[in-house]
C-alpha cells in the first residue's frame, strides 16, 4: 500500500486479514468472530456519528455484518487488499439509506429512550468525557456538506487510511487528500466564526487555535 504522509503505518500489531477472510468465507465461526471484533466498533462509531442513536447505530452495524456474511459466503467479494474500503462503502451506503428513510418518515422516538440517553449524556458530561468542545464540534459537523462530512467521518470514525479512503470513495489519492484538508479547514472556519459571534470572555476555552 502506498505510504501517505500522516497515514498510519502498520506497526507490530498489524494483522493480515486475508486468511481470516478466506476462513470466514468458508463458514469458520472463529474467523467471523475475529472480523466482528476487528471492525464492529468502527462501523458502529461511523453510524453513531450520523444517527446519534446507539440503538439505530447498532442495527446498522448488524445489518452491515449480515450483508458481509451473505456476500462473503456467496463469493461476492474477491480479496484484492481492499476489504476495509469495501466494508466501509457498505456501511456508508447503509447509513445513507437509513437517513433517507428517516427523512421520508419522520421517526418518532420513545420518550423513555430519550430520557435514558439524555441521562447518559449528562453523566458523561459530568465525568468530563463529553465536553462543550465536542458538542460544538458536532454542531459544526452538521454545517458541513454531505461530501465533506463523509470524508471526515470515514477518516476519524471509520479509521480508514487515506489510501483506503480514496479506494472507498473511488477517488484519486491526491484529490482525496485535498478534500480532507479542505473539509478540516472548513470545520475550523465554522467553529471560529461561531466563536467570533459569541460575547467576549465567554467560553473562550473552547476556541480552536489555528
Amino acid at each position: 500500500m502506498k505510504a501517505v504522509p500522516g497515514d498510519p503505518k502498520p506497526g507490530s500489531e498489524a494483522i493480515d486479514v486475508t486468511p481470516i477472510l478466506v476462513a470466514a468465507s468458508r463458514g469458520d465461526q472463529d474467523a467471523w468472530r475475529r472480523i466482528v471484533d476487528l471492525y464492529a466498533r468502527r462501523v458502529f462509531a461511523l453510524a453513531q456519528a450520523r444517527m446519534r442513536n446507539p440503538e439505530v447505530a447498532e442495527e446498522i452495524a448488524q445489518s452491515v455484518f449480515a450483508t458481509l456474511a451473505v456476500k462473503l459466503g456467496a463469493g461476492g467479494y474477491v480479496e484484492r487488499g481492499k476489504f476495509e474500503p469495501w466494508l466501509f462503502r457498505i456501511a456508508s451506503n447503509r447509513i445513507r439509506d437509513e437517513l433517507r428513510r428517516r427523512q421520508r418518515h419522520a421517526v418518532a422516538q420513545d420518550p423513555e429512550t430519550i430520557d435514558r440517553r439524555e441521562g447518559v449524556r449528562a453523566a458523561r458530561a459530568s465525568e468530563g468525557s463529553d465536553t462543550e468542545q465536542i458538542e460544538r464540534l458536532r454542531w459544526a459537523m452538521g454545517q458541513l456538506t454531505e461530501a465533506d462530512r463523509e470524508v471526515i467521518e470515514l477518516r476519524h470514525h471509520g479509521q480508514l487510511s487515506f489510501q483506503q479512503l480514496a479506494e472507498s470513495l473511488d477517488e484519486p489519492l491526491g484529490t482525496l487528500l485535498a478534500r480532507h484538508h479542505r473539509a478540516l479547514a472548513k470545520l475550523r472556519s465554522i467553529l471560529e466564526s461561531a466563536d467570533a459571534r459569541r460575547p467576549s470572555g465567554v467560553g473562550r476555552e473552547g476556541r480552536f487555535e489555528a
Binding site: A14, W32, R42, A49, A69, I134, L137, R138, S161
Partner: protein, 173 residues
C-alpha cells in the same frame, strides 16, 4: 493486506489541522463508546450482539442464491406482465378503432392500415379458433396467410381451387 489495530487512536495531521484531528478523534472515541448505552443486562458487548446476529447467516450461501433466484424470477414475471398488458392494450385499441370507424365516413390512410391490421388479427384468431390448433410460426406469416385467406373468401374462388402446395389441408394432420 493488513489491519492496523489503532485502538481508536489516529495519526497526527500536519500543521494547523492537528488540533482539529485530535478533537475529532475524541469525538469518534465517544461515539464508539456509546455502544455501552445499549449493553444488555447479561453483559454482552456490541461485538457479542453483532456476532450473534451475523452467525446465523454464516456459511449459508444458499440464502443468497435463493434470494437472487426469487428476485430475478419476480423481475421476469414483472416484465412479462408489463409486455402482456401493453399487448392487450394494443389489441383493445385496434378493436376500438375498428368498431368506432363508420363505413360511410372517410378514413385516413393510417386508420385504414390500422383497421386492416385489426381485421387481419381478428381473422387469424377466428381461423385459428375454428381450426382448434395452436398458432405456429411468426405473426407476420399468419397475417400474410390470413390476407390470402380473406382474398380467397372475398373472391369467387373456393378453397378447393387453391393450389395444394400453397394451402395444405389441415384435415389430414
Amino acid at each position: 493486506m493488513t489491519h492496523n489495530n489503532r485502538d481508536m487512536t489516529f495519526p497526527e495531521e500536519h500543521g494547523e489541522n492537528r488540533e482539529m484531528s485530535e478533537l475529532l478523534a475524541r469525538m469518534a472515541r465517544g461515539d464508539a463508546d456509546s455502544a455501552r448505552e445499549t449493553d444488555s443486562a447479561s453483559g454482552r458487548t456490541l461485538e457479542d450482539r453483532v456476532f450473534a446476529s451475523t452467525v446465523s447467516m454464516v456459511g449459508r450461501p444458499e440464502v443468497v442464491a435463493t434470494i437472487g433466484a426469487s428476485r430475478s424470477l419476480v423481475r421476469v414475471w414483472r416484465v412479462a406482465a408489463v409486455i402482456g398488458l401493453v399487448a392487450l392494450g394494443g389489441v383493445f385499441y385496434n378493436i376500438a378503432i375498428s368498431r368506432s370507424s363508420s363505413p360511410a365516413s372517410p378514413t385516413t390512410p393510417t386508420k385504414s392500415v390500422a383497421k386492416a391490421s385489426a381485421e387481419d388479427v381478428e381473422f387469424v384468431l377466428a381461423a385459428v379458433s375454428l381450426l382448434d390448433e395452436p398458432l405456429g410460426g411468426s405473426l407476420d406469416d399468419a397475417i400474410s396467410d390470413a390476407t390470402k385467406l380473406r382474398d380467397t373468401v372475398g373472391s369467387d374462388r373456393t378453397f378447393s381451387s387453391e393450389p395444394a402446395e400453397d394451402k395444405p389441408s389441415k384435415q389430414g394432420v
